[in-house]
Symmetry: C2
């Protein structure tokens, strides 16, 4: 039958094939040794699309979710397990409502260089410095995707974009936007120079307002965490970009601020007309 | 002693003076008959500042929080209760970590008209149509404050900006940005006309791109919920504003999209230069 998926029904929460799904919240904290969890139909369909950067190791569905996903899963070279929601919940350790899970494989962590289009082509890269909040990292990936950024670079302190909550808040963009992690202690100015990018620091202390910026052809837009922001020693060494706000207002959410800057920097060639 | 606050120590979770703090999560759902809960030091300090639009009925602090807040609370014409965190947690029904709560009074719900500067002065009003997600409403208030909007108008379907989570996500802006609720069935086009505002609908279906918009002097920027967006019958009757995005990308978070539009529409006179 066309579109049929050879699903494997599992009834024992202790089945070793379900081990990667076990104790999901606890594992969020300690990491998964090369694996990550995909939740929900939107994220699973992204993982099955050509846009996804990662391979699927296995899929775990509640029985009632199989028919709707069978066509999308046809041809997947990985096992599709089916288990009732009580079994799924017993495995993961909390109530599973949507009944759609999968395990992704992180693969080799890429270097930054192959992710960035070579000069003289235009390039737009978002740099995250010390972003330790999963909501913010997820929001930043969503906005990077919205404005066609080529890649996201994260310093060693920033948190994992493939953490469950970050994927969810990113609306799946963490699965599609290329990203690379810099070595601990990397200098952003040197990283930008090595990639032929002009670094712009988004900061309330910046001197150029975003709406009058003439976007560089090859940009590294660097953002820091909401509290401390980017460190002084970086701000002193690159152009600073600020967003004009109402007098007395403290600051925007970092993902929101990045969206305003990305919308400006991306320019017309990168965005859909008119 | 200067700065001393006559705090009232309470030890019985059943004390009737603590009734407005009881069963906090359950009450979130059913409403509080003219009251709302203020959580945390940032929100309490905003409530004590001249920027706040609402009066405090009472404050409830863990004993260790009193010294740091005593000066700010001096002169408050409302009781300050002190109770240990175990008592606070027993009253509210969940663990209280920060030890700072207060009850605010909603007061009379204002009409829209007195909140909007009269013509010919410039005006910027954000309209929320069918925004039922507290995170989004909180984010929209934060962004309205960031770009100096004069007021926020909500239709009958949009959720309460004074819900605990919305206040938190707004970074307190729900306590300071004037808002009014429209009567059920109000027509946004008529509302805009009555206030002498030019309505702009923010929508992927809009025909004008935000970065080339010449902002009207008096604007009502209307946003809808992320899923369905603004209804067709409204889009057909007002100028539509779109944000150019990468081809194939679905949509931005509604609060993020509104921030990009507000930054453009607010214009230089409303924002801190240069």
């Amino acid at each position: 039958m066309s579109g049929a998926v050879p699903a494997i029904v599992l009834e024992d929460p202790a089945d070793p094939r379900l081990a990667p799904y076990a104790a999901m919240r606890e594992r969020d904290l300690v990491g998964r040794a090369g694996r990550f969890v995909v939740e929900g139909e939107v994220a699973l369909r992204l993982m099955l699309s050509p846009a996804a950067r990662f391979r699927i190791e296995s899929v775990l569905l509640a029985p009632e979710r199989l028919p709707g996903l069978a066509e999308a899963l046809a041809g997947l070279g990985a096992p599709v397990y089916v288990a009732g929601k009580p079994v799924m919940s017993a495995v993961t350790g909390f109530p599973i409502h949507r009944g759609v899970l999968a395990i992704g494989l992180r693969g080799e962590e890429p270097d930054a260089s192959p992710l960035v289009p070579p000069s003289p082509r235009s390039a737009l890269v978002l740099g995250l410095a010390g972003l330790t909040n999963h909501d913010n990292v997820g929001g930043l990936f969503r906005n990077a995707a919205a404005f066609g950024a080529d890649a996201v670079l994260l310093d060693a302190e920033s948190c994992d974009p493939l953490y469950r909550k970050a994927i969810r808040v990113s609306a799946g963009a963490a699965l599609t936007v290329p990203f690379a992690r810099l070595a601990s202690g990397s200098d952003w100015v040197a990283v930008a120079a090595g990639l032929n990018l002009e670094p712009l620091a988004l900061s309330p202390a910046g001197t150029e307002e975003v709406s009058t910026l003439v976007p560089p052809r090859r940009t590294l837009l660097l953002v820091g965490s909401e509290g401390p922001g980017l460190p002084e020693h970086l701000l002193a060494r690159m152009r600073g970009l600020r967003i004009a706000m109402a007098p007395g207002f403290d600051s925007l959410n970092v993902a929101t601020a990045a969206a305003i800057a990305l919308h400006r920097v991306a320019g017309r060639d990168r965005l859909a007309g008119p």
